[in-house]
Point group: C3
Chain length 442, copies 3
């Protein structure tokens, strides 16, 4: 489903012609009717604004999750990256992103260039405010960038990361986004990604994976003897806070992706999405804590947190059509994915500091592929084409950028700098100057 042309007047209502003020004789009826349309406009706009600020809040969730899951010597860096990437996403999605994604795509591979025009409120007509739509779409773009930040933590220099962020949010994300939500070729083909399991989460995951492969693992993470050296995060309560923020924000992420709230049916759909979204997250938690208890005899809190997130990512491709039982199943598999893919990545020596690849990439693929189970308009074949096409495009274009950055300004600090911690080297302000500065002994 595209995210552009959803709104249309119910034909029956439009046919009555009551919404056009044609003569003084109709003035009284029209006054009432206009308010009727006003209410719809305001409701739709309000949905974008509320959903938008909830998704904006997810930027803080990623910041806290990552601050909690990196070692204390890299926490200031991680915080700086997260607030900066949100700033960059806002600027780039205005300069090129929105129009590339939504302007004149029409079955094609991208829209047009140039900044998004923010209309004068007096002329901001339609079924919702164009500015509210821009704001809502922008925070989705920022989410994609947030995903990359966690995987590459503790060993990337800040400026190349920020340059990559600018290119991701200004070009890569909007181009692949145009294929579906901008009514591009994937949308015409029948691909279905309601709120972005693929367009946001997998896309971010592919960009992160490309970076992780090109950047390499943190020094000491994978021993020469094949042992994986654990590097525990500095603050579990901050990681928990981040997860709760993301869970909260996801009600906006999925719920407001209904894109309208001005009818009974739309409001009921938003409500059902809230329920399914919550159920998938809950199932993700339960599967993750049960599996880690069974496998390791202890509950792993980072798996519990990532289990919630993977449940959320899994339901994001189709949060509306599944029954509650389906939502629980979809989210629960997401939780299992985290438990099994995290150690698998370590076996492959892909160093994903916060687990973003299992959560966003793998669970995102799972969520997208399972859409046909509940939505008969979707087909496994087309879903696979979408997953593969977007994966290939994002992975390939991201790799080129990472390689270009590596070849020019360099993307990785020296080994000595990495040992010291990026806070000391690039930020100059420690996260916790009065507490231990140890970090794990490497």
């Amino acid at each position: 489903m595209n995210r552009l042309y959803k709104y249309s007047l119910p034909a029956a209502v439009g046919a009555l012609g009551i919404f056009t003020l044609t003569s003084p004789a109709l003035a009284q009826d029209a006054a009432k009717a206009t308010m009727t349309m006003d209410a719809k406009y305001v409701f739709n706009t309000l949905l974008f604004l509320i959903g938008g600020f909830l998704v904006m809040w997810m930027a803080a969730g990623f910041a806290m999750l990552e601050a909690g899951l990196v070692r204390s010597k890299n926490v200031s860096m991680q915080c700086t990256k997260n607030i900066s990437l949100f700033a960059i996403a806002g600027l780039m999605f205005w300069i090129t992103g929105y129009n590339l994604m939504y302007e004149g795509v029409d079955g094609g591979f991208m829209g047009s260039f140039g900044p998004k025009a923010i209309p004068d409120p007096a002329k901001d007509a339609g079924d919702y405010s164009a500015s509210s739509d821009w704001f809502f779409q922008m925070v989705f773009c920022a989410t994609t960038a947030s995903i990359v930040s966690g995987t590459l933590a503790e060993r990337i220099k800040i400026w190349p990361f920020l340059i990559f962020t600018a290119l991701l949010t200004g070009f890569i994300y909007p181009i692949q986004g145009s294929w579906e939500w901008g009514t591009g070729w994937l949308d015409k083909m029948g691909f279905s990604d309601f709120a972005g399991s693929t367009l946001v989460h997998s896309a971010g995951g592919w960009a992160a994976l490309a970076g992780a492969l090109i950047l390499g693992a943190r020094i000491g993470k994978y021993g020469k003897d094949g042992r994986v050296h654990p590097m525990p995060g500095s603050s579990m309560p901050l990681a928990t806070l981040g997860t709760f923020i993301l869970w909260l924000g996801w009600f906006g992420f999925n719920g407001a992706s209904q894109l309208a709230m001005g009818t009974i049916s739309d409001a009921a759909s938003v409500s059902k999405i809230f329920v399914n979204t919550n159920m998938a997250a809950a199932a993700g938690v339960m599967v993750a804590i049960t599996l880690t208890q069974v496998l390791y005899k202890k509950i792993d809190i980072t798996m519990a947190l990532n289990g919630a997130l993977a449940g959320l990512v899994s339901i994001t491709a189709e949060p509306l059509m599944p029954s509650v039982v389906q939502a629980i199943f979809i989210g629960g598999i997401g939780g299992a994915i985290v438990v099994f893919v995290v150690p698998l990545l370590d076996k492959l020596k892909i160093d994903d500091v916060v687990g973003a690849i299992p959560v966003h990439l793998v669970a995102g693929i799972w969520g997208t592929m399972i859409v046909p189970w509940s939505n008969s308009d979707a087909s496994f074949g087309v879903q696979a084409i979408g997953v593969a096409a977007i994966g290939a495009f994002v992975f390939f274009s991201s790799s080129i950028i990472w390689l270009a950055l590596k070849a020019t300004i360099g993307i990785r600090p020296t080994a000595e700098e990495e040992r010291l911690g990026l806070d000391a080297v690039e930020i100059g302000i420690e996260a916790y100057p009065e507490f231990s500065k140890g970090g794990s002994p490497v």
Copy 2:
């Protein structure tokens, strides 16, 4: 007041019969009228969704409050418990909770068994979306479970706690809830608990008290010489953050318990509830800081935070009818309750780690009993019956479960495990691996 059948068309409007589409001739009027009803439906649904996500956010508040008030060796455990209990509450309130609480109670002692049916959006009729109502009621159920978590911190094994949570959220909470909000016998008798001073807060408090008595105090908390050994929490800023989150969430908790926003009167009621809720919390803070200054020559920050929460709990039974002066008084007494009951519990050697019993149980009783002061439909006698009946039921049924768990899988770690901290023993991941691991010397 029950929470089921609040909505009815104003008689005058209903009598006009304009909201039913009976003939083509009425199509134009009906189109306008339908939108009118749509707006009401959307407003009511939106109130549930906004209120719902604010109360969902309270789960994060409890997590942060408790993470801040336990020693660092038990912080990962407390975080794990809080995210898991929110997951369990969502699942259990769907599997049995909602229907037990709301389906066919009609003056009785419980509803029916079986999962809540989430309607298809196209058929989700009424004055609000059924899914939005489910979501809103579910987060209240989760709040009850959150209350238990804090009291029992630092000395309970996680799985028995989670099993108890499942039984609390799937059975105990909904059964007692059905008595009032499900139009059960207490509602018929005239009991009044607007947003849950008794049904949520005291209920959670009684379950916590039963657990605390059966579990016993933390090792070393109460010396043999009668001295109380202070065990200060690990992070005051996290406890403060948790309190602010709860304060914020409470606007949804009390405000959206108006259950409707589609009329001027309802919207004005929600607004007045916001004001009274804030005033009660403010008074709770001021009384707590003033009393601790006078009694101890210093302000006790944990009392300030719990004072805010006790003010909030106190006003929850009736946030609409009190004048501002009454709200200040009601909340202020809540703040005083905290200051006096916390040391009292210590005298009784009841080890309530975060102060949840004074805040939720005692202030919850206070708030319920003072309802008749501002609401002439309530009587002290019936309020007392409700408080006693729900207290007896929750305390008794919780005690049976705690005793059964104690007798079977056991609820308490060994003394050695408790000394080590539950993070090391049951979670395997320390909360702050790079900082001190000391904890208070016991």
Copy 3:
């Protein structure tokens, strides 16, 4: 623009007279029309409530920002101050503040004394609920007090601070606020401050500056050799969290200052405000990180955070009229202000612990003075008069109060107490009892 009498029916609609129920014959039309007006009322009220809870949440943002930017020995104190000041602001703005600011000002210098009457919901008529308006205006008042808290951290006793807060929120803020938002003399003159760059942020900044001058710098901050001794904050992730909370809350701060959402034009205006607010913050971040990189060869995270906030303050005087490019420019200059004014204050030996003076006072003046660039109704001359008049009044009246407090109960702890940290001396509970207590070596 004042914040009182914004609402009026579009003349055309009012002229139709359809909104008054005058005879039984009009009952059917009236039923529909009333709902129409109801929707407007509910939308406006909802805007106040949503905006209000977002701005309330900013109190948590200030608490976290300040908790992160002070040394660990003063964190409990800072948390206590922040929750207490929010409580006091609520009480004082009810007892005297609201009426002083909004009741019968009419071109004058203040309103009337006495508590704000909270109407019975059944009689809460108009275009929005009076209670929702009170709530929204109250949280602005609280914001002003939050600003003062940060500047004066680490060296002020709590009770004089709280007494000052009571006088600021009950008298100083409302009196100067009445000049503009209460339709006082500045409003009549044509002063323009949409959401409070001057009325909230500069006002808070002036009060903070007066306090900082009278209180003096922290011991050891400015060495006898002229060197500035850095005293790094205890937790960058908490400071980052606080900044994200403030950024989120600012959508309510600026967006809901449109004061109405019940028409297409108002909803579109709120949306445009969201966009501009975000853009200004984004620009503030980018300018701050770029400038600190260029000047110091490292990104300074505290500058990045304060850059976001300065961008937000800068756009607050006029978030509606600027184009996106203008918003970026306005916010970007805000970011530059932070980078240049922070060291300037140190040169002047004005010890502003969290940077509130550059962020709120200087960027607030900048934002106010640049209004005429995008809003042709404003003039530089009148803007300057407003900035000067409010600055003089707040600085002068604050100074008198600080001096009176200094002369009576004293405002500063002893040097020994300051070295120990205020948590030990006045709160009695350390923020992080299990971690290092060092603080910077002074």
